[in-house]
């Protein structure tokens, strides 16, 4: 069964008409190397609005977010921050003498003090600090952050510190993280760390919060938790939100969003009435679980689709290319009794009770498998173990009949493994064409329009397309194609193109997708 997306027009019942303006930008222009990303863009943000900022890959969503949060200066234009009691206005280009004034810089810290907060897609918690410290450090006006006070008046600093720690603990309890105060920032799940990052920005005094893909990479529970937090912040703290989110996650934001901004050709169109797929619910929780459009495109006929439950909330969905599926031939991938540790803890190969019984998986020629699992299940660990970047504790991995568990990554690539890792692992200073030539599988940049650009200048979606291009083998022996969240950051059109590219690969390849468990297939 595939849940069909049903058209439904926004907007929520909450009206923002008449509420005060908290942010105004006029005539914003920004170009990179002659390519104009923002072109005379105007925007007005009212208090209490929850904006979904939409646009195709490369349309400039992240650029606009970076500009409005002080991380990037526009070429021209004006930005007025009106959320705080002392409004501040910046005009661009700024004169050199303005930079000499230490109290008038256009930087993230100055903009943050105007009540502007942001979260990043990659979260950016302070990894070496506890969750309590991650929140307490955000509190403005801490006298203990003055070294003289810390040294000469420790009692005063400690008294403020105690109060801030209590507030941080209360905030953590509100996030459902009571008892985790001392957990290190890099030892909590993605969903938990995203909630802490949002709370941290609020504690820092954010009245307008810019959220860069707050739901990306989250499983169902993580999405529910983040949405619940955002809803409560909007309802209780009257927070104004601007959300950039992946197209797959639009449906989850239905209850929250009351304004759409569509970024197109460098300009914004407000209240763009786009159809939103109908919301479903799970156990009464308003979260949509829908099969994305790419699955039906990929799966073809439904009779070839099978699903099986794996331990600890994971699902393996298989679809076969009937003419090329060869169960009698040597499997392209055969995993038996695999146990992989992260540190002292077993991650892969656990059963429902947490006992290490080993993970088994077999893929044949012409088979496409989608492993969806919750955050913390070990998808990244499995990916690393298959690629040879994480040592395995027990078990065997065979690619095209050759055992590879003790071979280095480059030998696995020669044996028939084509893997697409995360975009962060691309080579930032190389051009797309150069990166493509490094791939053992594909040297053609054919239809890529940005082949001459460097990786660091690409948007998230463009990087993802480059990765896919590198990973998909053009020809040769049957390959195991391993794709880690291949459609993250791709818009609809790019996703369709990517699926076509995957379908268009040699049909005897076996393809394994690893994605978070926020979709349902059957």
């Amino acid at each position: 069964m595939t849940i069909a997306a049903q058209p439904m027009l926004e907007i929520s019942a909450r009206s923002t008409v008449g509420s005060r303006v908290v942010l105004r930008a006029q005539g914003l222009r920004k170009a990179f190397g002659g390519q104009r990303v923002l072109d005379d863009l105007d925007l007005i943000l009212h208090e209490g609005e929850v904006v979904l900022l939409r646009g195709e890959n490369g349309s400039g969503k992240t650029t606009l977010l970076n500009i409005l949060t002080g991380n990037l200066e526009p070429d021209t234009g004006t930005i007025e921050y009106l959320a705080d009691s002392t409004p501040r206005s910046y005009s661009f280009p700024r004169r050199w003498w303005q930079e000499l004034n230490p109290f008038d810089h256009f930087t993230p810290e100055f903009v943050a003090r105007e009540g502007i907060g942001r979260t990043w897609q990659d979260v950016r918690l302070f990894g070496s600090q506890s969750l309590r410290d991650n929140i307490a450090v955000a509190k403005p006006g801490h006298s203990g952050e003055n070294p003289l006070v810390a040294l000469l008046a420790p009692a005063r600093a400690n008294s403020r510190e105690g109060a801030f720690n209590s507030q941080a603990d209360a905030m953590l309890a509100r996030l459902g993280l009571a008892g985790r105060e001392q957990s290190s920032g890099d030892m909590v799940s993605l969903g938990q760390s995203k909630r802490v990052a949002i709370a941290r920005a609020v504690v820092a005094g954010a009245k307008i919060l810019f959220l860069d893909e707050p739901l990306a990479g989250l499983d169902r529970k993580g999405i529910t938790d983040v949405l619940t937090l955002l809803e409560s912040l909007v309802r209780e703290a009257k927070l104004t939100l601007v959300i950039v989110e992946h197209v797959f996650n639009f449906v989850h934001l239905h209850h929250l969003v009351n304004v759409h901004w569509m970024l197109e050709s460098g300009r914004l169109e407000k209240n763009h009435a786009e159809p939103i797929p109908q919301i479903d619910s799970i156990d009464g929780i308003p979260v949509t679980i829908a099969a994305p459009s790419w699955f039906s495109q990929l799966a073809g006929s439904p009779e070839h689709v099978t699903s099986e439950r794996l331990p600890r909330g994971a699902t393996l969905t298989r679809t076969r290319r009937p003419d090329h599926w060869k169960p009698e031939a040597k499997p392209v991938l055969e995993i038996k009794g695999l146990i992989v540790n992260r540190g002292a803890r077993s991650v892969i190969g656990l059963d429902e009770h947490g006992d290490p019984n080993g993970f088994d998986l077999t893929l044949h020629q012409g088979e496409i498998a989608i492993l969806q699992a919750p955050n913390g299940w070990g998808k990244s660990t499995l990916f690393d173990a298959l690629c040879g970047n994480a040592p395995i504790k027990r078990g065997t991995i065979a690619i095209n009949g050759s055992t590879v568990e003790s071979t280095p990554p480059w030998i696995r690539a020669q044996t028939g493994l084509a893997a697409s890792p995360s975009a962060a692992k691309l080579f930032p200073s190389l051009k797309v064409s150069e990166v493509s030539r490094l791939s053992p599988h594909s040297s053609s940049t054919g239809s890529i329009p940005f082949a001459s650009r460097t990786i660091s200048s690409l948007s998230g979606g463009e990087k993802q397309r480059t990765l896919l291009r590198m990973a998909l083998p053009d020809s040769g022996m049957p390959q195991l194609v391993l794709l880690d969240e291949p459609f993250a950051m791709l818009d609809d059109i790019a996703t369709r193109q990517a699926v076509e590219a995957i379908i268009g690969t040699q049909p005897h390849h076996a393809i394994l997708f690893l994605i978070p468990a926020n979709h349902s297939f059957s």
Binding site: F126, Q129, A150, A201
Partner: protein, 299 residues
């Protein structure tokens, strides 16, 4: 016995150097090679004030700390824009500048301490007086050792209190992710200036202690070798906590001394000791990349 007391004084001095350097490298994540330069400036300032003007230890050290704090802007300001390798190169340039200034700021015909002959160049400054603290002078090896231990303990206490304060926590946040800290409204540039100034002023105390102990100072205390030695201490001992630099100072002072007890041929002893010393450092970094007792690995 005097040999051991001498080593203990050296240990006290390098504990101050390593702990102060840890504030920059371990807590701010900024790898600097210029720290020995400020150590030397502290020593020279103390030496000139004590020798030429007859100042006591406390006022001379206070001025030395102030001078180093002001000059530390040479390291702190580039950190606003330079990152990683470029910042290291910037601090290397500062170290070379300080060394060159000390080495060349001399004129044979003018008295020491005059504007034309501030450092006496490669000949160094001799006859630096023992510290005088409100009329008391630690003249014997034992009393000087006790004095050095009290000074090192005081510096250590100041740094310990700072590192455990909300200010220290803010430094760790900046080290972990400066952009995220700026996004929370933290003026990371100013905080880095504070940290480098505090570390540089505290290392000036170590420089003054060294000058008053050895009673001779030459440009080698600002050399790149010295800079690498103190950096090795914090990296080998471990960064980002209080005990790591102390362990590092102990190991790097004790190790060469222990190697003296090996029965090596006289003609090759020095080179062999260096070889063994280097090998041990490489092995230590391989098996303990966070240092012996560290909490953070420098990037």
């Amino acid at each position: 016995m005097n040999y051991l007391l001498h080593l203990l004084v050296y240990f006290d001095i390098y504990v101050i150097v390593a702990l102060s350097l840890n504030l920059i490298v371990g807590y701010c994540g900024m790898l600097t090679l210029a720290h020995a330069g400020y150590y030397a400036i502290g020593g020279y300032t103390y030496a000139l004030l004590a020798l030429n003007l007859g100042w006591g230890f406390v006022p001379a050290v206070a001025v030395a700390m102030l001078v180093c704090a002001v000059l530390s802007l040479a390291v702190a300001l580039p950190s606003w824009r330079l990152r990683g390798d470029f910042f290291v190169l910037g601090t290397l340039a500062v170290q070379a500048l300080i060394f060159s200034a000390i080495y060349n700021w001399s004129s044979p015909d003018t008295p020491l301490g005059s504007w034309k002959n501030l450092t006496n160049g490669p000949f160094g400054i001799t006859g630096i007086p023992r510290p005088s603290i409100f009329g008391w002078t630690p003249a014997s090896p034992l009393s000087f050792t006790l004095f050095a231990t009290v000074v090192a303990g005081s510096c250590g206490f100041v740094l310990w209190r700072l590192q455990r304060s909300p200010w220290g926590r803010l430094l760790l946040a900046i080290r972990d992710d400066e952009l995220a800290a700026r996004g929370l409204g933290k003026n990371t540039r100013f905080i880095k200036i504070q940290a480098v100034a505090i570390a540089s002023s505290i290392v000036a105390v170590a420089g003054a202690l060294y000058a008053s102990h050895v009673r001779y100072l030459d440009p080698s205390s600002a050399s790149l070798d010295e800079g690498i030695l103190v950096l090795s201490m914090v990296i080998v001992g471990g960064l980002g906590n209080f005990k790591g630099p102390i362990v590092g100072a102990f190991v790097l002072i004790a190790l060469p001394e222990l190697l003296r007890f090996l029965s090596l041929p006289d003609t090759q002893a020095a080179n062999l000791r260096l070889l063994i010393y280097g090998l041990l450092l490489v092995l230590m970094m391989h098996f303990r990349p966070n240092g012996i007792a560290g909490a953070y690995r420098v990037q």
